[in-house]
């Protein structure tokens, strides 16, 4: 089915999220929609899926104008969405999830499970989407769950598939598998809209690339014509440095020591299983790994947020295994949490308040239990300038800021304290290229000033760009450390997927 968008405009108050967007995707074509976060990709997708109605413009399917009043109408018109956050019920089987909302029934309203079962088997075979219809979704890997989402759209006869950042949660190998599926879908005549901000992937799979910035289409290209560099500068509107310029590390003595650390996750399973490593002063140690292999719990244990079940964490000579978050903070640990709006900021609080979230009760911001608002505000204004936080004033609630500015507020807060260790979890998740560059530069500067940096990231590019030393985490266990440069992307990818160092031909020098 041919999909065409003509002059789509969507406003929220004064803000124009989509400004006269034109797109055209032919039948059997993969169109990549490339843009920074906040560029308006999600808004456009919500227009397409019937969640928002455009203020102007029209959607054409095979040349006929389509109007969607709700997501159900978009689905019936043949548009299938695969959201970044899966819309699946973990306790249901694959077949039940696929049926949900479009249940076919036999006489007397009984569910026709057999038919759903057969349909899934057939679709799986046809497109290489291997999934067991009887498996419980909660027990599947993330990659498999994504396949269920794709099967779900196909079972509803989607002719246009919209994939929103589908590779964000996948290992490099799983990403390859997804691309294989996308190719077979293309071969069957489906139109695919691939939304992403990852340049390499766009070049690998797209037939056509459309770049949007600040709600507008700023350019289009084909993978043959454009390089990563071209696309990146189109995306941010200027030349970008994709690699981080940093001098070689000059590591000092170990500052953060983790010995045989064991941590449980929220459901009481072992998430970190006897992990040992050191981070030295003036060094960035990156923990690579696919989301959900224990990195979150590792970071939480080091910062005092999760209980240490076994082993020891210490900063210099101070044992902080049993420390509260406050004590960890006072031991000199700065923390950039992975979920910034949940853990790092209070959305309804002003920038000024968020800048002192963990130091408001210390000098000079308070005295004898009374806050010194003048100090808090003037210090916030200074740091907004220093850390390039763009907002009307320091009284603006952080919730209204862009992701990049929100992260800068956290970075400003955490890096202005007296720190020995920085625990940075997914510090650039969801940020635009400009902000990523900025956060990276700040982390390198902190390293050069002598901080021990523990970087936890699922972005291989980030790990490769920043790390002086790399460990890979898989199912709660660590492999490494490896000096950066010793491993290729592919080798790290294999370690992330559970291969042993011997299998990929590097000596396990741990």
């Amino acid at each position: 089915m041919r999909l065409e968008l003509q002059g789509i405009t969507k406003r929220f108050g004064d803000l124009v999220a989509n400004d006269r967007i034109d797109l055209k995707a032919e039948e059997g074509e993969i169109l990549a929609l490339l843009g920074e976060n906040g560029a308006g990709k999600s808004t456009l997708m919500n227009v397409l899926s019937g969640l928002y109605r455009p203020d102007e413009g029209s959607i054409l399917l095979d040349g006929n104008a389509a109007h969607f009043n709700d997501p159900g109408e978009a689905i019936r018109a043949g548009i299938g969405m695969v959201h970044q956050h899966f819309m699946l019920i973990p306790a249901f089987t694959v077949a039940e999830n696929v049926m949900l909302g479009f249940e076919r029934t036999r006489r007397f309203g009984f569910l026709d499970r057999k038919r759903a079962h057969d349909e899934i088997s057939e679709l799986s075979r046809k497109f290489g989407l291997e999934v067991d219809p009887d498996a419980i979704v909660g027990e599947l890997s993330v990659g498999q769950q994504q396949r269920v989402e794709i099967v779900k759209t196909l079972a509803r006869d989607a002719q246009v598939l919209v994939l929103d950042e589908p590779t964000a949660v996948l290992t490099p190998q799983e990403t390859e598998d997804l691309f294989e599926v996308m190719r077979s879908l293309r071969a069957s005549g489906r139109t695919i809209l691939f939304i992403t901000h990852k340049l390499k992937e766009v070049l690998a799979i797209a037939d056509k690339i459309v770049v949007i910035r600040l709600g507008r289409v700023v350019g289009s290209a084909t993978p043959g014509q454009a390089s990563e560099q071209d696309l990146a500068s189109m995306m941010v509107g200027r030349g970008v440095e994709l690699s981080v310029s940093k001098s070689p590390a000059t590591p000092g003595d170990p500052v953060l020591r983790v010995e045989d650390l064991t941590v449980l996750d929220d459901s009481g399973r072992i998430a970190v299983a006897g992990v040992t490593f050191n981070v030295r002063a003036g060094e960035i140690l990156a923990v690579a790994g696919v989301q959900g292999n224990g990195q979150t719990e590792l970071a939480r244990a080091v910062t005092g947020l999760a209980a240490v079940l076994g082993g020891k964490v210490s900063v210099l000579d101070e044992d902080i295994s049993a420390a509260t978050p406050k004590q960890a903070l006072q031991a000199g640990i700065a923390h950039i949490p992975e979920d910034r709006l949940r853990d790092g900021l209070v959305g309804s609080f002003s920038i000024a308040e968020n800048m002192v979230l963990d130091v408001f009760d210390e000098a000079p911001f308070s005295k004898g239990g009374a806050l010194d608002w003048d100090r808090i505000r003037s210090s916030a204004t200074d740091r907004m300038a220093e850390f390039d936080v763009r907002a009307r004033s320091n009284a603006v609630p952080v919730r209204t800021l862009s992701g990049g500015n929100q992260q800068k507020v956290i970075v400003a807060r955490e890096l202005t304290r007296k720190i020995r260790v920085i625990v940075a979890s997914q510090p650039t998740r969801g940020l635009d290229v400009g902000s990523i560059e900025y956060v990276h530069r700040r982390l390198v500067e902190a390293r050069d000033a002598g901080a021990a940096v523990l970087l936890v990231s699922v972005e291989l590019d980030e790990v490769m760009a920043l790390a002086d030393s790399i460990v890979v985490m898989y199912r709660g266990k660590l492999t490494g450390p490896f000096p950066s440069g010793k491993l290729s992307r592919e080798q790290i990818g294999l370690l992330m997927a559970g291969s042993s160092p011997a299998e990929i031909g590097v000596g396990g020098d741990q």
Binding site: P325, L345, F360
Partner: protein
Amino acid sequence: MSEVSPESSGTEAQRSGDDAPGLLRKISHFLLSGNTLIITVLAFFSAIVIGAIIIVLATPKATGAWAQFLSSPGNAFAQSWFAIANAYGSLLQGSLGSAAAISETLVSTTPLMMSGLGIALAFRAGLFNIGGQGQVILGAAGATLAGFLFAGLPPILHIPLAILFGVAFGAAWGFIPGILKARTGAHEVITSMMLNYVGLNLLTFLLTSGLYQAPPRNQAISKTIAESARLPHLLGPSLRVNIGIILAIVFAIGVSWLLNKSTIGFRFRMLGANRDAARVAGVNIRRQYILALTLAGGLVGLAGAFQVMGVDYRMAPLYGGTVGFDGITVAILGRGSPLGVALSALLFGAFTAGGRTMQVNTNIPLQLVEVLQALVVLFVAAPGVIRTIYRIRLARAGERIFGGWGG
């Protein structure tokens, strides 16, 4: 992914750090922010209109005239108008029409303001204090105990001592749900609500105990507090208004300072706005639960203490009535800010005082004012209803005064 979305913003009252010199500017800022003025005025207006219908229905003369509508339509309207004007006229007369009326309004305002403050304080920390009724009883019981036990002290010592007892007893009743939540995770809504029943029955027990019961011991009424523990009247002995209202205003200012200018308040607000971030920033959440509910209990306890020290001088069964629950509506209408609480307590105090006059003059039951209060709060809490009725389009959607039950 952070994408553009319609701006949604918290209530302005929850924000601090905005400069607002002068009380007047503060009041106007509070009323105007987040379209609260329009919503509040229209909520009030809507409640009055619905109340008018109830007045007509509750007046036999008016309903009789409507039964004869076809023969004399003018009479139906005239009788209705007469009934409505009479009822609302008395309401106004009884709340603001004379020095005595104003005195009664302020007398009713005092306990509402104190219980509203305690409940609002807990709300701001993300906690639901439903135990107001029990805390009022305990606070009054504490003040009463000190009031008759330490007879003979000079007022300058006796009054603060009785207030201290009131705070301590109320705080104890807030501390229990606090420690239960901190230690066992028990939800404060359940525990504080159950403590209301414990408080009620404890009162019944105390009123028949040797310690409290007034001689000659055949009635469940407490001993009367000593003269020296009674709050001085403000406008002479004939008017009941006493320094309780002044103290309540002082406490409102104190709570405002605590929330906006102190580290304790900063922690409470963090906890209320984002519990996870508070934990990550090093706040000891369990300690805050205990502290917030204890302080809240102490403030609500003062509602009972001021009532017994300023108005009643002794306790009877079911003491405090619904003041502990009315505090919840006052806190909601006041949007959890001390200034808002003070203003809505004043409104409800006027309703209560005026309602009594209305009942005497027109035979319309006092319950009408409770219906009016409930309607105002209902419309304010569900602004969507008002927006739909009056077809106002507002830029800001999803205004949220309090978090829900969760956790």
